[in-house]
Protein backbone atom coordinates (compact mmCIF):
# COMPACT_ATOMS: atom_id res chain seq x y z
CA UNK A 1 0.00 0.00 0.00
CA UNK A 2 1.27 3.45 -0.82
CA UNK A 3 2.20 5.64 2.06
CA UNK A 4 0.58 8.97 2.69
CA UNK A 5 2.42 10.35 5.64
CA UNK A 6 1.07 13.64 6.81
CA UNK A 7 2.48 13.99 10.27
CA UNK A 8 1.56 17.58 10.84
CA UNK A 9 2.25 17.67 14.55
CA UNK A 10 5.95 17.01 14.21
CA UNK A 11 6.40 18.69 10.85
CA UNK A 12 5.29 22.17 11.81
CA UNK A 13 8.70 23.79 11.60
CA UNK A 14 9.62 21.92 8.45
CA UNK A 15 6.39 22.94 6.75
CA UNK A 16 6.82 26.56 7.74
CA UNK A 17 10.32 26.57 6.27
CA UNK A 18 9.08 24.91 3.10
CA UNK A 19 6.25 27.43 2.73
CA UNK A 20 8.73 30.29 2.95
CA UNK A 21 11.14 28.67 0.50
CA UNK A 22 8.40 27.62 -1.94
CA UNK A 23 6.94 31.11 -1.84
CA UNK A 24 10.35 32.44 -2.77
CA UNK A 25 10.51 30.30 -5.89
CA UNK A 26 12.35 27.20 -4.62
CA UNK A 27 11.05 24.39 -6.82
CA UNK A 28 12.35 21.62 -4.59
CA UNK A 29 10.61 23.13 -1.58
CA UNK A 30 7.44 23.43 -3.62
CA UNK A 31 7.46 19.76 -4.55
CA UNK A 32 8.35 18.63 -1.02
CA UNK A 33 5.60 20.76 0.48
CA UNK A 34 3.09 19.24 -1.91
CA UNK A 35 4.34 15.75 -1.12
CA UNK A 36 3.87 16.32 2.59
CA UNK A 37 0.38 17.74 2.21
CA UNK A 38 -1.11 15.87 -0.73
CA UNK A 39 -2.76 13.41 1.66
CA UNK A 40 -4.52 16.26 3.42
CA UNK A 41 -5.56 17.74 0.08
CA UNK A 42 -6.78 14.41 -1.26
CA UNK A 43 -8.85 13.60 1.80
CA UNK A 44 -10.44 17.07 1.86
CA UNK A 45 -11.27 16.73 -1.84
CA UNK A 46 -12.79 13.29 -1.26
CA UNK A 47 -14.86 14.69 1.59
CA UNK A 48 -16.24 17.54 -0.53
CA UNK A 49 -16.25 15.92 -3.96
CA UNK A 50 -19.58 16.54 -5.68
CA UNK A 51 -21.26 13.68 -7.49
CA UNK A 52 -20.22 13.46 -11.11
CA UNK A 53 -16.85 15.13 -10.61
CA UNK A 54 -13.50 13.36 -10.86
CA UNK A 55 -11.25 13.69 -7.81
CA UNK A 56 -8.24 13.83 -10.14
CA UNK A 57 -9.55 16.96 -11.82
CA UNK A 58 -10.12 18.73 -8.52
CA UNK A 59 -6.74 17.74 -7.09
CA UNK A 60 -5.07 18.98 -10.27
CA UNK A 61 -6.86 22.28 -9.86
CA UNK A 62 -5.79 22.48 -6.22
CA UNK A 63 -2.19 21.79 -7.21
CA UNK A 64 -2.33 24.57 -9.79
CA UNK A 65 -3.79 26.99 -7.24
CA UNK A 66 -1.18 25.86 -4.73
CA UNK A 67 1.58 26.74 -7.19
CA UNK A 68 0.04 30.12 -7.97
CA UNK A 69 -0.89 31.07 -4.45
CA UNK A 70 1.80 29.75 -2.12
CA UNK A 71 3.82 32.92 -2.60
CA UNK A 72 0.98 35.03 -1.23
CA UNK A 73 0.72 33.29 2.13
CA UNK A 74 1.63 35.79 4.81
CA UNK A 75 1.65 33.43 7.78
CA UNK A 76 3.56 30.21 6.97
CA UNK A 77 2.05 28.62 10.07
CA UNK A 78 -1.40 28.99 8.50
CA UNK A 79 -0.57 26.92 5.42
CA UNK A 80 -2.72 23.93 6.37
CA UNK A 81 -5.94 25.92 6.87
CA UNK A 82 -5.15 27.78 3.65
CA UNK A 83 -4.61 24.71 1.48
CA UNK A 84 -7.72 23.11 3.00
CA UNK A 85 -9.84 26.14 2.09
CA UNK A 86 -8.39 26.07 -1.41
CA UNK A 87 -9.30 22.39 -1.72
CA UNK A 88 -12.83 22.89 -0.37
CA UNK A 89 -13.44 25.82 -2.72
CA UNK A 90 -12.03 23.93 -5.69
CA UNK A 91 -14.31 20.97 -5.01
CA UNK A 92 -17.36 23.22 -4.70
CA UNK A 93 -16.44 25.16 -7.84
CA UNK A 94 -16.05 21.90 -9.71
CA UNK A 95 -19.51 20.88 -8.57
CA UNK A 96 -21.01 24.13 -9.81
CA UNK A 97 -19.19 23.83 -13.13
CA UNK A 98 -20.35 20.24 -13.49
CA UNK A 99 -23.95 21.25 -12.96
CA UNK A 100 -23.62 24.02 -15.56
CA UNK A 101 -22.13 21.84 -18.26
CA UNK A 102 -24.03 18.65 -17.63
CA UNK A 103 -23.73 17.12 -21.09
CA UNK A 104 -19.99 16.91 -21.68
CA UNK A 105 -19.05 16.37 -18.07
CA UNK A 106 -21.61 13.64 -17.70
CA UNK A 107 -20.06 11.90 -20.68
CA UNK A 108 -16.52 12.20 -19.45
CA UNK A 109 -17.34 10.93 -15.99
CA UNK A 110 -19.63 8.16 -17.10
CA UNK A 111 -17.29 5.64 -15.56
CA UNK A 112 -17.90 7.18 -12.16
CA UNK A 113 -21.62 6.59 -12.17
CA UNK A 114 -21.31 3.17 -13.73
CA UNK A 115 -18.69 2.02 -11.31
CA UNK A 116 -20.46 3.48 -8.33
CA UNK A 117 -17.11 4.37 -6.84
CA UNK A 118 -16.28 7.57 -5.07
CA UNK A 119 -13.95 9.08 -7.63
CA UNK A 120 -13.97 6.59 -10.42
CA UNK A 121 -10.28 5.99 -9.95
CA UNK A 122 -8.61 2.68 -9.55
CA UNK A 123 -8.60 1.35 -6.04
CA UNK A 124 -7.43 -2.16 -6.61
CA UNK A 125 -3.70 -1.81 -6.73
CA UNK A 126 -3.10 -0.14 -3.42
CA UNK A 127 -5.35 -2.22 -1.22
CA UNK A 128 -3.39 -4.86 0.61
CA UNK A 129 -6.32 -6.66 2.20
CA UNK A 130 -8.64 -9.25 0.73
CA UNK A 131 -11.10 -8.44 -1.99
CA UNK A 132 -13.93 -8.73 0.52
CA UNK A 133 -12.22 -6.29 2.87
CA UNK A 134 -11.57 -3.88 0.04
CA UNK A 135 -15.20 -4.11 -0.98
CA UNK A 136 -16.29 -3.48 2.59
CA UNK A 137 -14.01 -0.44 2.72
CA UNK A 138 -15.45 0.93 -0.50
CA UNK A 139 -18.96 0.37 0.80
CA UNK A 140 -18.18 2.24 4.00
CA UNK A 141 -16.60 5.06 2.03
CA UNK A 142 -19.71 5.33 -0.11
CA UNK A 143 -21.83 5.51 3.02
CA UNK A 144 -19.47 8.06 4.56
CA UNK A 145 -20.11 10.31 1.59
CA UNK A 146 -23.75 10.45 2.64
CA UNK A 147 -22.90 11.92 6.04
CA UNK A 148 -23.33 15.65 6.63
CA UNK A 149 -20.29 17.57 5.42
CA UNK A 150 -19.25 18.72 8.90
CA UNK A 151 -18.94 15.12 10.03
CA UNK A 152 -17.72 13.54 6.83
CA UNK A 153 -14.57 15.63 6.52
CA UNK A 154 -12.99 14.99 9.93
CA UNK A 155 -13.84 11.29 9.65
CA UNK A 156 -12.09 10.97 6.28
CA UNK A 157 -9.18 13.14 7.40
CA UNK A 158 -8.72 10.81 10.34
CA UNK A 159 -8.29 7.98 7.87
CA UNK A 160 -5.17 9.65 6.50
CA UNK A 161 -2.20 8.11 8.20
CA UNK A 162 -0.61 10.46 10.69
CA UNK A 163 -3.38 13.03 10.86
CA UNK A 164 -4.13 13.47 14.56
CA UNK A 165 -7.12 15.23 16.10
CA UNK A 166 -4.83 18.17 16.72
CA UNK A 167 -3.65 18.32 13.11
CA UNK A 168 -7.21 18.02 11.79
CA UNK A 169 -8.36 20.74 14.18
CA UNK A 170 -5.56 23.02 12.97
CA UNK A 171 -6.42 22.48 9.30
CA UNK A 172 -10.16 22.87 9.86
CA UNK A 173 -9.71 25.82 12.22
CA UNK A 174 -11.84 24.18 14.88
CA UNK A 175 -11.27 23.33 18.54
CA UNK A 176 -9.76 19.88 18.96
CA UNK A 177 -12.68 18.80 21.13
CA UNK A 178 -15.13 19.70 18.36
CA UNK A 179 -13.18 17.59 15.88
CA UNK A 180 -13.18 14.67 18.27
CA UNK A 181 -16.90 15.00 18.88
CA UNK A 182 -17.63 15.13 15.18
CA UNK A 183 -15.59 12.00 14.56
CA UNK A 184 -17.44 10.14 17.31
CA UNK A 185 -20.78 11.27 15.88
CA UNK A 186 -19.71 10.48 12.33
CA UNK A 187 -18.90 6.93 13.35
CA UNK A 188 -22.23 6.64 15.10
CA UNK A 189 -24.09 7.90 12.01
CA UNK A 190 -22.04 5.67 9.74
CA UNK A 191 -22.80 2.65 11.88
CA UNK A 192 -26.51 3.43 11.76
CA UNK A 193 -26.38 3.85 8.00
CA UNK A 194 -24.45 0.63 7.53
CA UNK A 195 -26.92 -1.33 9.63
CA UNK A 196 -29.86 0.19 7.79
CA UNK A 197 -28.41 -0.67 4.40
CA UNK A 198 -27.17 -4.10 5.34
CA UNK A 199 -30.37 -5.18 7.00
CA UNK A 200 -29.49 -7.65 9.69
CA UNK A 201 -25.76 -7.66 8.94
CA UNK A 202 -23.93 -6.06 11.85
CA UNK A 203 -21.19 -3.59 10.91
CA UNK A 204 -19.51 -1.36 13.42
CA UNK A 205 -17.70 1.64 11.90
Amino acid sequence: MGVWRVVLDCQGDEVRSLVVAAGGGDGEALRELWRLRRGLVGAVVLAHLPRGVEAEDVVQEVAALFVRGVGSIRDPGAFDPWIRRVAVNAARDAGRAARRSSGLVAGLTAGLALNGSVSGSSVGGAWAGSAAEAEEGRRLLELARELPEDYREPLLLRCVRGLSYRAIAHAMELPETTVETRIVRARRMLRTLAIERAGTQEVRP
Binding site: V59, G71, S121, W127
Partner: protein, 242 residues
Protein backbone atom coordinates in the same frame (compact mmCIF):
# COMPACT_ATOMS: atom_id res chain seq x y z
CA UNK B 1 -24.19 25.33 24.68
CA UNK B 2 -24.03 23.31 21.50
CA UNK B 3 -24.71 19.62 21.27
CA UNK B 4 -21.06 19.12 20.37
CA UNK B 5 -20.06 20.80 23.61
CA UNK B 6 -22.51 18.66 25.53
CA UNK B 7 -20.94 15.57 24.02
CA UNK B 8 -17.56 16.78 25.15
CA UNK B 9 -18.74 17.56 28.65
CA UNK B 10 -20.00 14.02 29.01
CA UNK B 11 -16.41 12.81 28.63
CA UNK B 12 -15.52 14.41 31.93
CA UNK B 13 -17.51 11.78 33.77
CA UNK B 14 -16.22 8.45 32.48
CA UNK B 15 -18.44 5.49 32.77
CA UNK B 16 -21.58 7.40 33.52
CA UNK B 17 -23.24 7.00 30.14
CA UNK B 18 -22.95 5.49 26.67
CA UNK B 19 -21.58 8.67 25.15
CA UNK B 20 -18.49 8.47 27.31
CA UNK B 21 -17.76 4.84 26.47
CA UNK B 22 -18.30 5.61 22.80
CA UNK B 23 -15.84 8.49 22.97
CA UNK B 24 -13.25 6.41 24.78
CA UNK B 25 -13.65 3.69 22.17
CA UNK B 26 -13.19 6.21 19.37
CA UNK B 27 -10.06 7.65 20.97
CA UNK B 28 -8.56 4.18 21.30
CA UNK B 29 -9.35 3.38 17.66
CA UNK B 30 -7.65 6.63 16.63
CA UNK B 31 -4.62 6.09 18.84
CA UNK B 32 -5.43 9.23 20.80
CA UNK B 33 -6.25 7.63 24.15
CA UNK B 34 -3.97 8.22 27.11
CA UNK B 35 -2.89 5.43 29.42
CA UNK B 36 -5.47 6.58 31.96
CA UNK B 37 -8.20 6.49 29.33
CA UNK B 38 -7.18 3.01 28.23
CA UNK B 39 -7.29 1.86 31.84
CA UNK B 40 -10.70 3.43 32.21
CA UNK B 41 -11.95 1.63 29.12
CA UNK B 42 -10.63 -1.66 30.42
CA UNK B 43 -12.47 -1.06 33.66
CA UNK B 44 -15.69 -0.36 31.77
CA UNK B 45 -15.11 -3.41 29.58
CA UNK B 46 -14.69 -5.62 32.63
CA UNK B 47 -18.17 -4.54 33.68
CA UNK B 48 -19.61 -4.76 30.17
CA UNK B 49 -17.78 -7.43 28.13
CA UNK B 50 -19.60 -6.44 24.92
CA UNK B 51 -17.47 -3.26 24.90
CA UNK B 52 -14.39 -5.27 23.95
CA UNK B 53 -16.25 -6.78 21.02
CA UNK B 54 -17.41 -3.33 19.99
CA UNK B 55 -13.84 -2.07 20.12
CA UNK B 56 -12.64 -4.91 17.91
CA UNK B 57 -15.44 -4.28 15.42
CA UNK B 58 -14.78 -0.55 15.42
CA UNK B 59 -11.07 -1.05 14.80
CA UNK B 60 -11.83 -3.44 11.97
CA UNK B 61 -14.29 -1.05 10.35
CA UNK B 62 -11.88 1.85 10.71
CA UNK B 63 -9.22 -0.26 9.03
CA UNK B 64 -11.54 -1.00 6.09
CA UNK B 65 -12.48 2.64 5.70
CA UNK B 66 -8.90 3.86 6.05
CA UNK B 67 -7.83 1.29 3.46
CA UNK B 68 -10.45 2.54 1.01
CA UNK B 69 -9.40 6.16 1.59
CA UNK B 70 -5.73 5.23 1.17
CA UNK B 71 -6.53 3.50 -2.11
CA UNK B 72 -8.31 6.59 -3.37
CA UNK B 73 -5.41 8.78 -2.32
CA UNK B 74 -2.90 6.46 -3.96
CA UNK B 75 -4.77 6.90 -7.22
CA UNK B 76 -4.18 10.64 -6.88
CA UNK B 77 -0.54 10.37 -5.88
CA UNK B 78 0.90 11.18 -9.27
CA UNK B 79 -0.78 14.57 -9.42
CA UNK B 80 1.26 17.57 -8.42
CA UNK B 81 3.57 20.32 -9.48
CA UNK B 82 6.72 19.11 -11.17
CA UNK B 83 8.66 22.33 -11.50
CA UNK B 84 9.73 25.27 -9.40
CA UNK B 85 7.25 27.84 -10.57
CA UNK B 86 6.15 29.79 -7.54
CA UNK B 87 7.31 33.20 -6.53
CA UNK B 88 9.66 35.53 -8.28
CA UNK B 89 8.96 37.33 -11.48
CA UNK B 90 9.03 35.92 -14.93
CA UNK B 91 12.42 36.56 -16.36
CA UNK B 92 14.16 36.72 -13.01
CA UNK B 93 17.76 35.86 -13.38
CA UNK B 94 18.07 36.99 -16.95
CA UNK B 95 21.40 38.62 -17.48
CA UNK B 96 22.33 41.96 -18.94
CA UNK B 97 21.28 43.35 -22.30
CA UNK B 98 21.78 41.61 -25.58
CA UNK B 99 20.23 38.31 -24.49
CA UNK B 100 16.81 38.89 -25.88
CA UNK B 101 16.46 35.43 -27.33
CA UNK B 102 17.35 33.83 -24.04
CA UNK B 103 15.10 36.18 -22.12
CA UNK B 104 12.31 35.55 -24.56
CA UNK B 105 12.61 31.83 -24.14
CA UNK B 106 12.73 32.12 -20.37
CA UNK B 107 9.74 34.41 -20.31
CA UNK B 108 7.83 32.09 -22.63
CA UNK B 109 8.75 29.13 -20.54
CA UNK B 110 7.79 30.98 -17.37
CA UNK B 111 4.45 32.04 -18.78
CA UNK B 112 3.81 28.52 -19.91
CA UNK B 113 4.52 27.23 -16.45
CA UNK B 114 2.77 29.94 -14.51
CA UNK B 115 -0.35 30.43 -16.57
CA UNK B 116 -1.02 27.30 -18.53
CA UNK B 117 0.99 24.89 -16.43
CA UNK B 118 1.41 22.87 -19.60
CA UNK B 119 3.91 20.20 -18.86
CA UNK B 120 4.03 21.13 -15.20
CA UNK B 121 2.28 17.95 -14.17
CA UNK B 122 3.77 14.63 -13.39
CA UNK B 123 1.38 11.80 -13.95
CA UNK B 124 -1.30 10.64 -16.26
CA UNK B 125 -1.84 13.81 -18.27
CA UNK B 126 1.70 14.04 -19.53
CA UNK B 127 1.99 10.32 -20.10
CA UNK B 128 -1.28 10.31 -21.97
CA UNK B 129 -0.16 13.23 -24.09
CA UNK B 130 2.99 11.41 -25.11
CA UNK B 131 1.10 8.25 -25.90
CA UNK B 132 -1.54 9.99 -27.93
CA UNK B 133 1.12 11.98 -29.69
CA UNK B 134 2.68 8.75 -30.83
CA UNK B 135 -0.47 7.18 -32.16
CA UNK B 136 -2.42 10.19 -33.31
CA UNK B 137 0.01 12.50 -35.07
CA UNK B 138 -1.38 15.81 -36.16
CA UNK B 139 -3.04 15.62 -39.56
CA UNK B 140 -2.83 11.88 -39.89
CA UNK B 141 -5.32 10.60 -37.37
CA UNK B 142 -8.70 9.08 -37.92
CA UNK B 143 -10.31 12.40 -37.14
CA UNK B 144 -11.28 14.52 -40.12
CA UNK B 145 -12.00 13.65 -43.72
CA UNK B 146 -15.26 12.11 -44.89
CA UNK B 147 -18.35 13.83 -43.58
CA UNK B 148 -16.28 16.40 -41.76
CA UNK B 149 -14.53 17.42 -44.96
CA UNK B 150 -17.83 17.79 -46.73
CA UNK B 151 -19.20 19.87 -43.90
CA UNK B 152 -16.20 22.16 -43.94
CA UNK B 153 -16.37 22.56 -47.70
CA UNK B 154 -20.07 23.24 -47.65
CA UNK B 155 -19.46 25.91 -45.06
CA UNK B 156 -17.54 27.78 -47.72
CA UNK B 157 -14.07 27.63 -46.23
CA UNK B 158 -12.60 25.83 -49.17
CA UNK B 159 -10.48 23.41 -47.15
CA UNK B 160 -10.41 19.74 -47.94
CA UNK B 161 -10.89 18.64 -44.33
CA UNK B 162 -10.73 19.83 -40.77
CA UNK B 163 -7.12 18.66 -40.72
CA UNK B 164 -6.41 20.82 -43.75
CA UNK B 165 -8.03 23.77 -42.03
CA UNK B 166 -6.01 23.14 -38.91
CA UNK B 167 -2.83 22.83 -40.95
CA UNK B 168 -3.49 26.19 -42.59
CA UNK B 169 -4.23 27.77 -39.23
CA UNK B 170 -1.01 26.43 -37.77
CA UNK B 171 1.06 27.47 -40.76
CA UNK B 172 -0.32 31.00 -40.83
CA UNK B 173 -0.17 31.21 -37.07
CA UNK B 174 3.51 30.37 -37.05
CA UNK B 175 4.21 32.82 -39.89
CA UNK B 176 2.43 35.63 -38.07
CA UNK B 177 4.08 34.80 -34.77
CA UNK B 178 0.81 34.03 -33.04
CA UNK B 179 1.39 30.31 -32.80
CA UNK B 180 4.48 29.61 -30.73
CA UNK B 181 4.74 25.88 -31.09
CA UNK B 182 3.84 24.31 -34.41
CA UNK B 183 3.16 20.89 -32.88
CA UNK B 184 -0.01 20.89 -30.77
CA UNK B 185 -0.03 18.66 -27.70
CA UNK B 186 -2.78 16.12 -27.46
CA UNK B 187 -3.93 15.19 -23.99
CA UNK B 188 -6.01 12.07 -23.61
CA UNK B 189 -9.27 12.60 -21.73
CA UNK B 190 -11.04 9.34 -22.34
CA UNK B 191 -10.54 6.18 -24.38
CA UNK B 192 -13.55 3.97 -25.04
CA UNK B 193 -13.62 0.72 -27.04
CA UNK B 194 -16.12 0.56 -29.86
CA UNK B 195 -18.03 -2.51 -30.99
CA UNK B 196 -16.08 -2.73 -34.26
CA UNK B 197 -12.75 -3.04 -32.47
CA UNK B 198 -11.79 0.59 -32.88
CA UNK B 199 -11.12 2.83 -29.90
CA UNK B 200 -12.83 6.17 -29.60
CA UNK B 201 -10.53 8.69 -27.98
CA UNK B 202 -11.50 12.06 -26.65
CA UNK B 203 -8.61 14.38 -26.34
CA UNK B 204 -7.73 17.98 -25.79
CA UNK B 205 -5.60 19.76 -28.36
CA UNK B 206 -3.27 22.28 -26.77
CA UNK B 207 -1.84 25.02 -28.94
CA UNK B 208 0.57 27.54 -27.51
CA UNK B 209 -0.20 31.01 -28.84
CA UNK B 210 1.47 34.34 -28.27
CA UNK B 211 -0.15 37.76 -27.89
CA UNK B 212 0.94 41.22 -26.81
CA UNK B 213 -1.14 42.61 -23.95
CA UNK B 214 -0.91 45.53 -21.54
CA UNK B 215 -1.16 43.48 -18.37
CA UNK B 216 -1.37 39.86 -17.34
CA UNK B 217 -3.55 38.63 -14.53
CA UNK B 218 -4.08 35.16 -13.20
CA UNK B 219 -6.58 33.76 -10.74
CA UNK B 220 -4.87 32.84 -7.51
CA UNK B 221 -6.22 32.07 -4.04
CA UNK B 222 -5.94 34.86 -1.50
CA UNK B 223 -5.33 34.35 2.21
CA UNK B 224 -8.90 33.16 2.57
CA UNK B 225 -8.52 30.60 -0.19
CA UNK B 226 -10.81 32.60 -2.48
CA UNK B 227 -9.80 33.06 -6.11
CA UNK B 228 -8.98 36.66 -6.99
CA UNK B 229 -7.27 38.21 -10.04
CA UNK B 230 -3.63 38.83 -9.28
CA UNK B 231 -1.40 40.86 -11.56
CA UNK B 232 1.58 38.81 -12.67
CA UNK B 233 4.94 40.26 -11.84
CA UNK B 234 6.34 40.38 -15.37
CA UNK B 235 9.67 42.09 -15.41
CA UNK B 236 10.13 44.30 -18.48
CA UNK B 237 12.98 43.59 -20.82
CA UNK B 238 16.11 45.52 -20.24
CA UNK B 239 17.00 48.04 -22.90
CA UNK B 240 20.26 47.66 -24.71
CA UNK B 241 22.62 50.60 -24.57
CA UNK B 242 23.54 51.68 -28.07
Amino acid sequence: MTNESNDHRARSAPGTDGVDAERLLSRIVDGEATDAERAEFERLASESPELSEELAAAERAHGFLAGAVAAELDALASIGPAGGVAGGGIGTGVGSGGRFAEADEEARSGLRRRIGLVGAWGGWAVAAALLLGMFLPFGEGAVGGGEEAAAVQSAGFGFGSIDDAMRVYMQRGVESGRVVEPEPRLVLIEARPEADGMVEVRYMRQIIERALVDDVYELAPDDGGVLVPVRLDVRPRRSVAM
